[in-house]
Amino acid sequence: MRRLLPILLLTAVLPVSAGAADPVAVSVLVPITGFLALEGTAQRNGAVLALDNPPAGVTVTYQIADTATSPEVAVTALQRALEREKPVAIAAPIFGTQMLAMAPIANRAGVPLITVSGTAKLTELGHDVVFRFFPTDAVVKVAQARYAVQELKLSKPAILYQTTSYGQSGHEHLVRALGELGVKPVLEEAIDPGIKDLVPALERARAAGADSLLLQLHSGPTALTVRQAHGIGLGLPIVAGSAMHQPTTAALVEAAQLKGVCAETASSPMSDPRPDVATFADAYRKRFNAEPDAFALGQYDGMRMVLAAVADGARTPQAVKAWLASYRHDGLAMSYVSDGTGNMAHDAVIVCYDGSGRGPIIMKRYDAVDGVK
Amino acid sequence: MTEAAVRIGLTVEGVDVRFAGTTILGPVSVKVEPGSVVAVLGANGAGKSTLLRAVAGVTPVSSGRIYVGETEISDVTPERRAALGVGWCPEGRRLFPGLTVDETLDVAAPGGRRERAERIGAMLELFPVLADKRRETAWRLSGGQQQMLAIARAVIAEPSVVLLDEPSLGLAPVVRDQMFATIRRLATSGAAVLLAEQDTPRALSIADRVVVLARGQLILDWPTTMAVGNPHFEQALMGV
């Protein structure tokens, strides 16, 4: 025992080399059921694609849990993950309301949350654990407004936005961005996610003399708006939120109905010509039998950045957090760097459908929209 | 009722009905000959309705047997008993509120469209008060008309066994007389009629036998001629 003691003390003091075999844990907590199941599933798929192909020298284990639709379920999933898996990072739900509930708890534990939620408030609360790999409303809504006003020359938009925090945040930013371009909306209408008949809102837009529709709606309501607008012969150009770029949304609308419809998004992996994005898209299609969207790619890029941090020696949550906050990462969709509050993505694209098919065409890129380079 | 019909009676043997662990009726044995009326008398709660419900099959029995003619029906469902010739007119009539007179008779009548129409016609002859009320819904009829309809519904299928539970309840005397006369006619046509009643005099006027129940037990089972004027009978009715 006497002779062992110095050796024990020595090994306790010397850093134990983290052999390549030592795995780090990551948790994936996303909505797989409920009204955001589509987006949550895209998050899961992107995260899994990244986590299953870590860089050389990195081994990672991960668990997936469903956060469904309520903040309570998300918080429970988070607490359970923190306790059991002790992750160095967590892929977190796109649902702003759930993120707002989870952030304080993750903050206390010091574990970074990697998300693609666009709800601006997440990075305005003083926590430093949220890392958003999707451009915020401060970026995409500005792109949406600029494209509508500067490219399409529209001046009397009607805004339809969801009553969720996603919708409200987007609405705020959209109105502000339009204001800076000298345009005031003729109608601003809050739509509950459960509403299926959008015709009343569309008729009100028509009555208000709108020359266009700007949408900040989830996938189903976006598809319904496009279809029903076509059904009543509204004939107005539509610049929609990110939901429209999702292939699953486009699948609900006939190609002819998509003519004159555009959308803001972070990226369009299914139609991006760049070779490494195309490779990602092929791998995604093969594995999940579905088309990838910007949420999947954003989550993929976010987890890749986490793995890059681990490869660079960050093995605790705090270390990963510090790494994410300090370094730039060249992802597939764009280059990511923190603006100091956890917003990593600062570029946006506008995609449009020409009525001939369901594949959107990238019309314009807006880089460093919020000034962060 | 056709003249050539086989004469079938009702036999109740040692029937026992329990509820929540207590025996509420029985054991009771009673026999109703075809073409006769047996009146079941007794105070409220004596078990008259329970007996009729047991024969109809809507209240399960814990022991004992019931026969319609030679056929044992002790374990047979109510629907099947109706097909085997048991007709039940429950206490309070229990007409189907939303159905018209015509519809009520139609759902209870067996057979194809022509046969049902014939049977309905026969019922309207037997109960002429219903003849011009065919399209009325049941709840619009007067008390007497409702009772007639309830009886008609119970006998339209020409059952061998007719169970009538307090048919005179709530009816004016004149109407009661008509009704009891009709009940006697049912027996004359060959049915075995088991009649539970509170209107003792009128029941006795048409019954061949009389049975008295008290607190679930059978106290007395006599021919009417023997019961009328008999002091033991009067006492039994008081529930001694």
Partner: protein
């Protein structure tokens, strides 16, 4: 202006007709067994999904795809109704009505999650009854889908009315629903009428799901909202009253479409529920009164 009003009116009638179909099936089961089937909304959603599935098996350019799919939806959903009766009702016949509605709540959740797990959470597009085109009449363009929806829903409702009022089986079904013990005593096989009621209710729900699936898409989570509307329609009309529930359903549709178009969604919904409370305050048993012994 006139065109907008006409389109809104057609929308309101189409939606009302479909909601009436949903409410009709809902009330049929209440009448038949005196208990609420909380999985009814999920049955509507399931019908929509079946429609999507069957339509995907048909060649792409067939005319009247929805009409062709309708018989298959009715048949499949009738079987589903028998399944609901067997699983959530039959074993609990002797238990209080609350047991049935808890069992049906559970069944509804199983159906919802089963569909989500089985085919995915995303909304799906159902086939149009005829096509997505427009019919022009006196200078006004009306969506053919909406007109076909109205015709189909009305045909089904009339069909059910004829079944219940003019056939012997329908009369026996009504008798069994009003007093099952008495019905048995006159020879009616009540377990058959109950099973048929469930099958019929589910078939109507499925048809409603098909009719909704093209204009409004069908999502696995749709069931709860539809269930709530059926329940409210039934409360407005009078618990257990078939035509009252249909009227209640139309009222809901009018608020969701016309009133929402004149005011806003929020105001329309608020007005609807103020109206419901008013009905309950002045006529607590609904506009046409309750059917006795059926409150659940």
């Amino acid at each position: 202006m006139i065109e907008a009003a006409a389109q809104l009116a057609v929308n309101a009638v189409a939606l009302g007709a479909v909601y009436a179909l949903v409410a009709l099936g809902f009330v049929l089961v209440i009448g038949a067994v005196g208990a609420v089937n909380f999985a009814h909304g999920e049955l509507v959603m399931l019908g929509g999904m079946v429609a999507v599935g069957v339509a995907s098996l048909l060649p792409a350019d067939l005319p009247v795809p929805g009409l062709l799919v309708l018989p298959a939806v009715l048949a499949v959903m009738a079987v589903a109704g028998l399944f609901v009766a067997g699983v959530a009702y039959a074993p609990l016949r002797r238990a209080p009505p609350t047991s049935v509605f808890i069992a049906t709540i559970a069944l509804g959740l199983i159906i919802q999650h089963g569909v989500t797990a089985g085919i995915g959470p995303e909304p799906r597009l159902g086939p149009p009854m005829i096509d997505s085109g427009t019919w022009h009449f006196a200078g006004i363009g009306l969506a053919r889908q909406q007109l076909a929806t109205i015709a189909t829903a009305v045909a089904l409702i009339v069909g059910v009315h004829i079944l219940l009022q003019r056939t012997r089986f329908g009369r026996r079904l009504r008798a069994a629903a009003q007093d099952s013990e008495m019905a048995r005593a006159i020879g009616i096989r009540v377990n058959v009428t109950v099973a048929v009621s469930f099958a019929l209710a589910a078939a109507l729900a499925g048809a409603a799901g098909l009719l909704l699936s093209n204009q409004y898409l069908v999502t696995p989570t749709d069931g709860a909202m539809l269930m709530l509307k059926a329940y409210v329609a039934t409360v407005i009309g009078g618990w257990g009253r078939i035509w009252g529930a249909a009227l209640g359903a139309f009222a809901i549709a009018v608020f969701e479409t016309l009133v929402a178009a004149w005011t806003s969604y929020l105001v329309a919904e608020a007005l609807l529920y103020v109206g419901v409370l008013a009905v309950l305050a002045f006529r607590p048993k609904g506009l046409f009164g309750e059917v006795e012994g059926r409150r659940a």
